[in-house]
């Protein structure tokens, strides 16, 4: 992997993105990586834009902040608008199209994360875990195995089954999106 991969999870306070950041960091540790996680702290954590940041590396991580993330998961229009410009050139943008209608890049992965979560799992609270499944499948930043273990270690026992389902849903949604996006066959002039 690259020396240092920076991931920002951004949305609205209450969407569980800080928990998602912690789980992602724990999954990276299970993969044997070095990791630093931080979050924005202040009035905006309450209902306003909220963000969690995770830095994953094979090497020692010093500076703990991300200024130009390689990966941005946006779960609200406001967060998407606020942080899209920070994304590194060629960086990966994943948006929850339930809330983000004005997508700033045609290369973004657009998945109705919250809508599908409600449809399949009846409750929006699992959307953060679905999002982690999607992030994992698209970016391969952590292994499925470690992510699953990290999720199951974090969540209360009563919710293990639903969280497992949430992860599976995330993996499926991502696969579908990846398939849909498959580059068209390369055109060569000879043909």
């Amino acid at each position: 992997m690259k020396e240092r991969v920076e991931i920002r999870l951004a949305g609205t306070g209450g969407q569980g993105l800080i928990t998602a950041g912690i789980i992602l960091a724990e999954a990276a540790i299970l993969d044997g990586k070095n990791v630093v996680q931080s979050q924005s702290y202040g009035p905006e954590a309450r209902g306003g834009a909220s963000k969690a940041e995770v830095i994953i590396s094979d090497r020692e991580i010093y500076y703990p902040k991300t200024s130009n993330p390689d990966i941005l998961l946006a779960m609200s229009q406001e967060a998407c608008n606020k942080y899209f410009n920070d994304l590194k050139p060629g960086g990966i943008l994943i948006v929850d199209s339930t809330f983000i209608t004005n997508v700033p890049s045609s290369s973004a992965y657009q998945i109705p994360i919250t809508k599908m979560t409600i449809e399949k799992l009846k409750k929006p609270v699992f959307a953060n875990i679905v999002a982690l499944g999607i992030l994992c499948e698209i970016t391969k930043i952590v292994t499925r195995k470690s992510l699953t273990k990290a999720v199951l270690e974090r969540v209360p026992e009563a919710f293990i089954e639903q969280n497992k389902k949430a992860l599976q849903l995330g993996f499926r949604l991502a696969k579908k999106e990846l398939k849909n996006r498959k580059e068209p066959e390369e055109f060569t002039a000879d043909e």
Partner: protein
Amino acid sequence: MPSKKNNYKLMQGNEAVAQGAIDGGVRFFAGYPITPATEIAEILSNKLPEVGGKFIQMEDEIGSIAAIIGASIGGVKSLTATSGPGFSLMQENIGFACIAEIPIVIVNVMRGGPSTGLPTSPSQGDVMQARWGTHGDHPIIVLSASNVYQAYLLTIKAINFSEKYRNPVILLLDEVVAHMRARVLLPKKDEIEVLERIKPTVPPEWYVPYENNLTGVPPMAAFGDGYRYHVTGLVHDEKGFPTSKPDEVERGLRRIFEKIEKGFHEICMVKYHYLEDADFCIVAYGSVVLSSLSAIEELRKEGIKVGLLELNTLFPFPRFAFDKVLNFGIKGFLVPEMNLGQIYREVVRVTERKVPVKKFNKIYGELITPDEIIKEIKKF
């Protein structure tokens, strides 16, 4: 890289302080919640009862420090945690603990000030307050943690120093270190050195509570052990009773400074990073150490030889480290801080400007970035 069994944990700086407190033997915490230090109290409110300790939330920070002083006189290792405004309220009793020689640890997670200031953005504005916040000439030990792992280790060090030297120890964190989570592998229990305070071995009637000895640190009897003695904030004689006799005052006050001076080299902890061949030396503490190390990686890729003197002890100020660094042939110092130059002035003092000393300051509640440090180094 990790062994087969992956024992690494994701841990927050404040969580590391709480775990360090438990592992260092703290069994009493009194505090009042304040961001960005609240997690320390929150975690200890769960953990302390599990190990037979006591947690109490006080009415304010004045009560909090008074309570830990009382608990410590009772023979229990005690700690409190707060942030700027609470730290200000604690100043009077820090002085009391200095003159009565009561071991306590105060963790201050620095946020932007003065007053209510910038809740709850990072800052390093309380450095000189930690040294001189309480009135009167007094000895103090101030430590500063630069990362999560160190927050754990230095909490234990702070407890040990406070017990060994019978003096308050202040551990400074900034919001960045306190709230970030990182991968850590904590040492095994038998790898940690935990010190206990020296208790009197003489019969109670022979006990002289503030008697000088070779270490300068008199044995400390716990209330309830059967040793009766007087504890006061007034300058006192060896028996603990108030005095204004010049020779007794002089002797008593000199001793509490000398006991710290005797431990100077043990107390003063620094780390030398990439300094042997360096042309320039960054002097940093707290989270700015992290920015500095990232900056050094980049600068060295460009062939600019920069090193870092990391200060883990701020007071007593580790002046010997600067002699050592100057001997490496350093051409200049850069002191980046999230204040307007509180340690910069110390660096100027001890280096006597034998080489240029520059400062870089940021006071709007954001961590100094590696790029900013790189720019400053290139201006040399």
